[in-house]
Subunit: 341 residues, 2 copies
């Protein structure tokens, strides 16, 4: 253990992001300032999220863009390997944003100070069902959409980490839930395990036609992870006073030229519809309370989730790409090492 | 006075609406059932609004579409000419929705029972500054956009009846107000009479470029009457947590094929923006209170308005078209007769 390997952003992608946009760098192991409470952390698991694609665009946004030559930003769980901080002894599991590298340093002055993993959580669980994707689902659905019992709730990207949590929280709240996902396997999981009321397989079915069949009285709530044609089809079938939470637009993240938006926005006027974007970090002061509620649902078996765990440092960039081809089944993770190994 | 003239919807327009879509019909004067409290009303003034274009489309909306062969729906002020109702003697001025015809009947069982004009209001004032366009401005701005003192508020269609009211209410609320309008004359009126902070003449200036200059810290509130490219440009310059009220989309009302929507909706996510459509009729139970506040502003000289009064029954369909060519300066009205004439 004398060197650190890192994936740096080599060039900004135009179109589909891939391994060619990152370069591997081997450098000296970073040295924590132990006297100032810094610790050296070995990365165990990395989390992948479609929103990371946005961090590669050189425009101001809710987080600064990743710069050329910088380590790619990513959520992580790691293990303390070097420390003189009595609160964070070696072996402590840490949640953070280590990025795509084997080792990182964090201390009390870091942007994200080192935060121990709650007892009983595996690294994979901390990054999946107990990660920010579920919090995103929680606040986007409950705060932006205010679902009422009996509402028809539509979720796009429903088999994804965020979408499947949205769908199940809506079900817990007494809504009728319809999910849109790609492929028979994902749709079967949503019906059988997540207990949705209906699913639409966008790879084999016409979304607009299926929504007409499934929602004769309209959609009260639409939680959108996809954008593009899916958003346009959903708008067509919204009920009066419907609410649309814009969480993401994965259909357009790798477009070279931005695609035209929905042609039917006047429906928002005619039917008095609210469409609102949100970012989960704005709810940080309520994370703890929300996580308590989410934990109760998970313990009660009310929220199912899946982890798609890839392996190996070399596979990091290719694993990121799985999100955009729809290959991932559940929360996309990558394991570099197991705790204590 | 033995016959009634009416403009009926002859065929549904595809593209620009014009006189050719309406047919003139002469029929017998309608006979009110005086024993049941009905009155015969002579139409004096008609009001014209871009939203009327939507009533010609054969799709369910917030009001049923006007059917082929029906009198074109329109707001009106008329005068009672035949009545045995002591509350509505001949000569009483009545607000209503008589539509494009010289005479109409209304009674206690009508969809809109006859409602006398408040004392002191001229027919033109009742349909312009004290009409639903100002109420639309009031609720759309204050309820949907919640403007705060110091906010930068952008209004499209700013020289129109609704837009100019929005701009001035925003100014009253302590906001910095920028209007978008077409032509030097309208822009000068907005600056000099309505006391806006800045204007953009979309006929001679690039909206996107001007917004970049005028709103370096972003737009907090956008009240949109226009849609299309104007909406896309405004989204580009929205500030974090901005609010967009969708009131209408006049740029697309006469499109044969719906134009593509804004390509930049992902900005709504990144900047946590709310975009919401509304219809003024949902606020009906608050009209009276709102009108009281509006009347105070008007009396105090804080809200300026303009009336564009055309004349003559034959000119009704051509007057409607003025809204879509931008020829109207202020609230579009048409006078058929004056009170007591």
């Amino acid at each position: 253990m004398t060197s650190n390997r890192q994936w740096l952003l080599k060039e900004r992608p135009s179109g589909m992001v891939g391994p060619e946009h990152f370069s591997l760098q081997e450098s000296a192991l970073p040295e924590p300032d132990l006297d100032r409470g810094e610790v050296l952390i070995k990365t165990l698991y990395l989390g992948f999220d479609p929103a990371m694609r946005g961090w590669l665009i050189d425009e101001p946004s809710y987080l600064p863009p990743v710069q050329i030559g910088e380590v790619m930003r990513a959520s992580s769980v790691g293990e303390v390997v070097s420390s003189s901080n009595p609160d964070l002894p070696p072996g402590t599991l840490i949640q953070g944003m280590a990025g795509w590298q084997e080792y990182s340093i964090a201390g009390p002055d870091s942007f994200i100070p080192p935060q121990p993993l709650p007892a009983g959580l595996t690294p994979a669980m901390a990054l999946s069902v107990f990660g920010t994707t579920t919090l995103t689902a929680y606040f986007g659905l409950l705060d932006i959409c205010e679902p009422q019992p009996g509402d028809t709730v539509l979720v796009s990207g429903a088999a994804g980490a965020t979408g499947s949590a949205v769908a199940q929280i809506a079900r817990i709240k007494g809504c009728r839930v319809i999910g849109i996902a790609g492929g028979a396997e994902k749709c079967a999981w949503l019906l059988d395990t997540c207990r949705l009321d209906a699913v639409i397989d966008y790879k084999s079915e016409n979304i607009d036609q299926r929504l007409a069949e499934l929602c004769p009285d309209g959609i009260n709530v639409f939680f959108d992870n996809v954008g593009g044609d899916t958003l346009e089809a959903a708008i067509t079938h919204m009920a009066d006073f419907g609410r649309i939470a814009l969480c993401g637009g994965i259909s357009g993240y790798n477009d070279v030229e931005p695609a035209p938006g929905p042609r039917n926005l006047m429906i928002l006027v005619q039917r008095r519809i609210k469409m609102q974007g949100f970012i989960v970090i704005d709810y940080m002061d309520r994370f703890e309370a929300a996580m308590g509620e989410i934990a109760e649902w998970v313990m009660a078996g009310e929220i199912a989730w899946r982890e798609d765990i890839q392996h190996g440092f070399d596979n990091i960039p290719a694993t990121f790409q799985r999100l955009f081809s729809g290959q991932n089944t559940g929360k996309q993770l990558l394991a570099l090492a197991e705790p204590g190994a």
